[in-house]
């Protein structure tokens, strides 16, 4: 592989990254969410569904969960989003008591090049923001064949770098309903106002933070902060990807050390090194010393180190194994130890490229060592799978 090819592959990221996240609040006094959000990142695109189940509590939870997951699987399996939504719309039953459909949904299919298809059935219309302005688009309306009152809206957009989309359930637009200030609730205009102001204050706000603030705002709008309906917000932000590399393990051929060290130096994103020997190799090749920041930490991991040109330098397998544990836990605990810093490094990146040295450390195969010492490749494989599936990152692995 030539250097140019390598750089292209290492850059392996599309020009645009789709940052997607959501936040929810349960209806007051309920113990389950009545809205359900599900998303999946497949090569080249992101698909997502937000569904609002009829009523609230467990019943709504089951209805919205079924709708969202069926629809997501349907689109993921290769069905055209319009066709998939049409079939779901036509088959959603009607509640006998209320005479309306069991669940509403918004579905999204967004490609890396910005081509986006959105289908909405019953949910409030999404908001499309570019350069601090809301863009309005006319939908194509598809009526249901089986239910006379049901119809879905189809939107085809071309997103650009910096664009945002905000989806929400009716809990957001109807928050504050009946209060003296907002007799009709927040409505879409109120939400647009809030989101534009928020973006003006913090132009590069992440999707996670924006969806959280929208949900908090909606809850604060409610009388006594008691949510009258389930509140959910989904935010999408198209931006330049934050690229990073993690260099772990010495390259298989000693002779290649210099080449990889040079590539490491040239890389223009964030850089982490996991491994004592690996950092020694870089220090030798790049002629920069590695220093231990604090001599010892109170935790049970070797402390992180410092090296010019790298954002994070840690010990190898123990830190990686601990980082895997942190990533696996349901709530991300970010301790201040080296593994916690590594987890934060992962979470603050969009595209992570692992350079995994294939050389074995003979010392780790000494049977007198504790069994905690795992095989690097296995740990990295598990970490990359988690980062891809749970944390929706773009991950590539290269064995060097």
């Amino acid at each position: 592989m030539t250097r140019k090819q390598w750089r292209k592959q290492a850059a392996g990221c599309p020009a645009m990254f789709i940052d997607i996240d959501y936040a929810q609040v349960k209806k007051y006094n309920q113990n389950a969410y009545g809205d359900y959000f599900s998303s999946k990142r497949v090569p080249g695109r992101v698909i997502a569904v937000l569904s609002d189940g009829l009523g609230s509590g467990i019943k709504a939870n089951i209805l919205s969960c079924m709708t969202a997951i069926m629809l997501l699987k349907f689109i993921d399996a290769g069905a055209d989003i319009k066709k998939a939504c049409e079939i779901i719309m036509n088959s959603l039953p009607v509640c006998k008591v209320r005479k309306i459909s069991y669940a509403t949904f918004s579905a999204l299919d967004c490609r890396d090049d910005g081509e986006t298809h959105i289908v909405e059935e019953g949910n409030p219309q999404f908001i499309w923001i570019r350069d601090g302005q809301v863009l309005e688009t006319m939908p194509q309306i598809v009526p249901s064949e089986t239910f006379s009152k049901r119809k879905m809206q189809l939107y085809d957009l071309k997103l650009m770098d910096g664009d945002r989309l905000v989806f929400c359930s009716d809990g957001v637009t109807q928050s504050g309903l009946g209060s003296p200030e907002l007799r009709l609730g927040l409505r879409r205009d109120g939400l647009i106002d809030f989101v534009l102001k928020k973006i003006a204050v913090k132009p590069d706000i992440s999707s996670r933070e924006l969806s959280k603030t929208v949900v908090n705002f909606a809850q604060n709008t409610e009388i006594d902060r008691k949510a009258q309906d389930d509140i959910s917000a989904v935010s999408i932000y198209c931006r330049e990807p934050r690229k990073s590399i993690v260099f772990t393990g010495p390259p298989y051929h000693n002779g290649q050390d210099g080449k990889y060290a040079a590539l490491f130096k040239e890389f223009t994103g964030k850089k982490a090194v996991c491994g004592g020997t690996t950092s020694n190799i870089l220090a030798r090749e790049l002629n920069t010393p590695v220093n231990i920041k604090v001599s010892f930490t109170s935790g049970s991991l070797p402390p992180p180190m410092e090296m010019e040109g790298a954002d994070l330098v840690t010990e190898g397998i123990l830190t990686l194994t601990r980082a895997l544990e942190y990533l696996e836990s349901p709530e991300v605990v970010v301790n201040e130890d080296a593994a916690g810093q590594l987890v934060r490094f992962f979470l603050e990146s969009d595209c992570i490229d692992f350079w995994v040295g294939a050389k074995l450390n003979q010392a780790h195969y000494d049977p007198s060592l504790p069994v905690e010492i795992e095989i690097r490749k296995n740990v990295i494989k598990k970490i990359s799978k988690l980062l891809e599936e749970k944390y929706i990152k773009k991950v590539s692995l290269q064995y060097i």
């Binding site: 004592g276 020997t277 950092s279 020694n280 590695v290 231990i292 001599s295 010892f296 049970s300 991991l301 070797p302 402390p303 180190m305 010990e315 190898g316 397998i317 123990l318 450390n361 003979q362 010392a363 780790h364 000494d366 007198s368 060592l369 504790p370 905690e372 010492i373």
Partner: protein, 84 residues
């Protein structure tokens, strides 16, 4: 007198074999020998991959000399003899 540098290896093998306990030396050595010995943690010293016959990890390096199978007592004893 020239200051002695005492490096405690914090590489993977050494760490799991007990160098994590050697951090007590950071307080212990100055109280016993004064400022003449400077105790620091160090990135993998690379001993584990070559020096298996002489003794295993954890390793401590005092100036140019390597102490294998280091323990607090062993290191203190070594310094005792060296500084006599």
């Amino acid at each position: 007198m020239k200051q002695i540098e005492l490096k405690i290896c914090l590489g993977t093998s050494c760490y799991v074999m007990g160098s994590s306990h050697l951090h007590e030396l950071v307080d212990m050595v100055p109280s016993r020998f004064g400022d003449i010995v400077n105790v620091v943690g160090h990135n993998c010293l690379g001993q584990c991959s070559k020096n298996l016959e002489a003794g295993g990890p954890p390793y401590v390096q005092v100036d140019d000399e390597i102490i294998p199978d280091a323990s607090i007592e062993k290191v203190l004893q070594y310094l005792e003899i060296k500084l006599k």
